[in-house]
Symmetry: D2
Subunit: 136 residues, 4 copies
């Protein structure tokens, strides 16, 4: 069950962002990406070639922290500050792009990096769409 | 797509916890509960009777912080410390129970509290099952 | 005792950012601001006029999440991605400015808002300095 | 400047916990330990012998997540739930003890592990004192 969609629907003030599906998708991909990055950092740490994965672990951690913060902020619908939405979504796009680019290097050898890169690209894509709609 | 299940499956060390489905369910309900509590705190803040919901907002915030930490810790499979699993799952059960009990008071009047109480009880239940299996 | 200064000093790779004092100051003010915002949100929730403080509570929560993520990311010195530093510091500046502006409105009546606005402005200032040094 | 002490002092409801110094000390050591653990994980990742530090990195991450959640929860003074305080402080004691024990093994060779073990023991100690006072 996806509680956040129900939660968004039952919020007393209604949505401040017009496109509810786009917002829900962005929140979902932020939390999925945070989770994938946490898992990928942990899996990299357990690999034989951990020394070749140090940059990947670091970017995983940064991306997890940023996606988690972005997902929390977008989840709040009471008195939102659109300038914070915009700057944090922009930072999330940057982090997802950097982390995905690193994970894609290791994807041929590590399945967890392949999955994590996919989660990062999905989050980056949904953030790009939401940011574009917020700029109109 | 639920990345964490795939991630658990592709981890280089395999599972340290035997019952993979039980673990995956517990991680899932921890993150869902954290999200529901963040959303419920925000929705309560927007209600006309916010002064009657102060205790609910506070417990939502505590429960969100604890479920998020518990979900992150359970997600890591490299060199896990079972004593930390046990104590943090126990704290998660306590927080979910307290938050659910408060949300259930407001559930007849606020749909977000009804949904949040449900998320808390599901998390409490899956934590109880996992804790029991870790004590054997 | 401030562990982060010692930690930065003893890091095996040395600093990737040349101005160690500027970096340490920015990390310090990020975590102090996150803490002040968490405290201010909680204090606002306990005020008689909580309904007039809803926007303040919301911005406190956003600013706390963003400052915490920024502080964690800046604390890591292994394989840093400067583009992530820049975008996240920029978002931190935006959040601190928005939160401080709201807290300053309530500062004459609520001491916690006065202190929180001060913490936000200090964080905003140290982020601005670090961002400027990273752009050179 | 330590904002949390001023914040605790200016809270509209006053303290729910009688011993204000003991509470302020516990909050302080929780956030310091979270920071030290984040830094130690990052420094370990940069070491030549990272493969020998995998368990340390993992416990650093768990301890950071738990100390951060504990610090946030203790910082909130509005409508606190003492059963959540107790269970989360207990989990924090467990995490600090496990992380300190591992860091102490590496302390002779890595200065960051020596400092981190110290931060963990200080947090464990202040949590033990606060927990004892909450049980009376």
């Amino acid at each position: 069950m996806q509680f956040y969609s129900e939660m968004l629907r039952t919020h007393p003030r209604g949505m401040q962002i017009q496109n509810l599906d786009m917002l829900a998708e962005c929140i979902k991909t932020c939390f999925e990406c945070a989770q994938a990055c946490t898992d990928c950092a942990d899996a990299c740490l357990a690999e034989e070639n951990v020394k070749q994965l140090v940059r990947c672990i670091r970017l995983n951690q940064d991306c997890a922290d940023i996606c988690d913060a972005t997902g929390r902020i977008l989840s709040r619908q009471t008195e939102p500050a659109v300038e914070i939405f915009r700057s944090q979504i922009q930072s999330c796009i940057t982090a997802c792009d950097s982390c995905a680019s690193e994970c894609e290097i290791h994807a041929p050898h590590h399945e967890h990096c392949r999955i994590c890169a996919l989660a990062c690209r999905m989050c980056q894509d949904s953030c790009n769409k939401l940011l574009k709609s917020l700029k109109q």
